[in-house]
Assembly symmetry: C2
Homo-oligomer: 399 residues x 2
């Protein structure tokens, strides 16, 4: 069992993060909760504020040794932070398997920003031979959005399930939990968790107020429950690793705080950054559809969105040739790097761009071509997924 003391939730008095760095007087405040990500995010600062740990070269070496290779998203520090990931790797090294658990709040269609952690989760499943629980918090999304009907959420849930299956998770070792569909499996555990958390604590962890509806206040234990479900399924304390974006961390802080008292391992996490929107206006988000590429976008839409994307390029071709582009602040560059370019290709692209030997149009053309090609295949898998839903649904039986 983890002996880390770094996540005492009583210290997490606030989820507002001061995103400034020490060299500037211009403080820009960022806000990160499971329901809202605002402002410029300083990820190093987040590690400090949330009390997580950075991914170190020791960890990367351990992954290399155990998995045979290191996923680009780890190398690129897109997964940048963790709690007890080293503990999970040590367990695995001593032949103790771990479950993976991740999730999705079905409040809209799936875009590329969602796919990154899922692709990384598939890598972990493949390399570590892990069983995976994938939760869809349809209840949360219904409760959170005051004007959404449950029918709308249900329809997004169905569409999102197709995306999840299309990722290519192992059907024999993956089960999808839809909260309202599988609540009978979660509810007893959720009650055990809920009994141990006061309003006062959840107020400080999640920022709940007196005007929050009681469904939202009662919800967090439902998202915690799958952390302990593997122990029930396996009939023994079972380690769990959660790959997810950093905004979900408040749930795991709360969960870790009760784990000891319930006789379970604290769930380990590995936290990702957010994929920036195509216009760099923040994270890619379903609420800004023009700045996100969805798995259901047709080729023309992808062309249009990529064509309108911000870049790190200069205002004119002449200036670009003279000064070079700012690749490291260019969403097009990063999309290509995260999704499509090999390490070598990406390095070449960086050098050419910065040296003025690459125009933004060329990169956009590459991104549009790759994205369309990716989505054509993804959509085919998404179609096939329609016949595989039942196979993936959780049924309370061992995976």
């Amino acid at each position: 069992m983890s002996s880390e003391k770094d996540d005492d939730i009583s210290n997490d008095s606030d989820v507002i993060v001061n995103g400034s760095d020490s060299n500037s007087d211009n403080f820009k405040e960022s806000k990160i909760t499971p329901w809202e990500v605002q402002g410029e995010i300083n990820y190093d600062k987040l590690i400090e504020t949330f009390g997580t740990k950075p991914i170190t070269s020791d960890i990367l070496q351990k992954v290399q040794k155990l998995a045979g290779d290191v996923h680009p998203l780890l190398k690129l520090n897109y997964f940048f932070s963790h709690r007890d990931f080293d503990w999970i790797l040590n367990k695995y090294e001593r032949n103790e398997n771990f479950y993976l658990y991740t999730g999705r709040g079905p409040s809209g269609m799936v875009h590329m920003g969602h796919l990154l952690p899922w692709l990384f989760t598939k890598y972990l499943q493949d390399k570590f031979n892990s069983k995976l629980l994938f939760q869809l918090t349809d209840d949360e999304k219904f409760l959170y959005n005051q004007d959404r009907t449950f029918q709308e959420i249900k329809s997004f849930t169905y569409e999102n399930i197709l995306d999840i299956i299309a990722i290519g998770f192992d059907a024999n070792r993956t089960k999808i939990i839809v909260d309202t569909k599988h609540i009978q499996y979660l509810y007893p555990l959720a009650n055990e968790i809920a009994k141990r958390i006061t309003f006062s604590t959840s107020k400080s962890v999640f920022g709940f107020t007196h005007s929050t509806n009681i469904g939202m206040i009662g919800f967090p234990p439902i998202q915690s429950a799958p952390c302990f479900l593997p122990s029930l399924i396996e009939g023994k304390p079972t380690p769990v690793l959660i790959p997810a974006a950093i905004d979900q961390d408040p749930y795991w802080r709360m969960t870790r705080d009760v784990a000891d008292r319930m006789g379970y391992y604290k769930p380990a996490q590995i936290h990702s950054k957010f994929l920036p929107a195509l216009d760099t206006s923040g994270k890619m988000s379903s609420s800004k559809p023009q700045n996100a590429i969805f798995t259901t976008d047709d080729p023309e839409t992808i062309d249009r969105k990529v064509s309108a994307a911000f870049t790190g390029g200069q205002p004119t071709v002449a200036l670009q040739r003279e000064l070079g582009g700012n690749a490291l602040e260019c969403p097009v560059y990063w999309y290509l790097r995260y999704f499509f370019d090999s390490e070598v290709q990406s390095e070449e692209r960086l050098i050419k761009c910065e040296g003025g030997n690459l125009l933004c149009g060329e990169c956009k053309s590459d991104l549009a071509t790759e994205s369309k090609s990716f989505m054509i295949k993804f959509k085919q898998r998404r179609e096939k997924a329609k016949d595989m839903i039942q196979e993936f649904m959780y049924d309370g039986k061992p995976l």
Copy 2:
């Protein structure tokens, strides 16, 4: 649909009831929540504070007309208050059937105080040919009692189910809902309800504080959900009448407040008083086992408890013969009246006691004899109930 405006929950700022009457300066405060009943209760004052209505002679006449007779607990004003019971009767008169819904929090064994509302509910079912949902809030009782394990609550749930079935409800028209067992049927409705209730509201209705656990805060919609389940089962708005003790009223106030907005009828209620403890120290309660007669007590235990009961008698036989007893403040008298005496017998007992022609020992002997005889038969039905549990369990199908 009811047009009553008497239950705007925003007016229910507090559940503390001043139980004093106007002739006394000695105020005794009483507290009534679904989890705590303290102090002397002034039932007339409760009607005013909770904004309910008294049971009138018009209502009794309507019941006589529709049911063919008036149950003693109604005549005796043990069921003393209501919301929309008149509306339910009018609906019935116009050939619109209503569901009954009542419940039990399985935090201990069942005593005679629990049986009264259930016997009354059976009368309603028999007379009005009603379908009945009977909810066991095992989740609530687990969440409320910090030191109770779920195994303990589960064991009480099983025992309580035997008592409920032993009451003799119609197996074809009665379904028992155990929250943790049937949560999948309640959860979608509960989310619809929860979304419409803020912490602020539930704080004022239930007295929740910052140290209340989030399970308790999230729970009330689970108890509300069966109010609307009949409309889903029947596929049309369906009236529901809840016979229950007055302490449960906060749940129904909250439920009525959201009913309109959800397109359902407001649930109607008929409220009972509390059966006093044998030592008149408050309501009969599982937490004071010596002052309560349980359905599982053996004859010797019943003899012992009744023998130790307080009465309205004088300190000596001589004084009793001279001054007469105070029957109307005697728990033994009321137990006999509520459970065993006919109207005629009870009137005779009153006259004899007040006239000094009856000693407490005689009444205690009558109560012990009747209680033992009742419990012997009840226990036989309780034994038979063990084979009928499955038949009574809710299964999501029409009753």
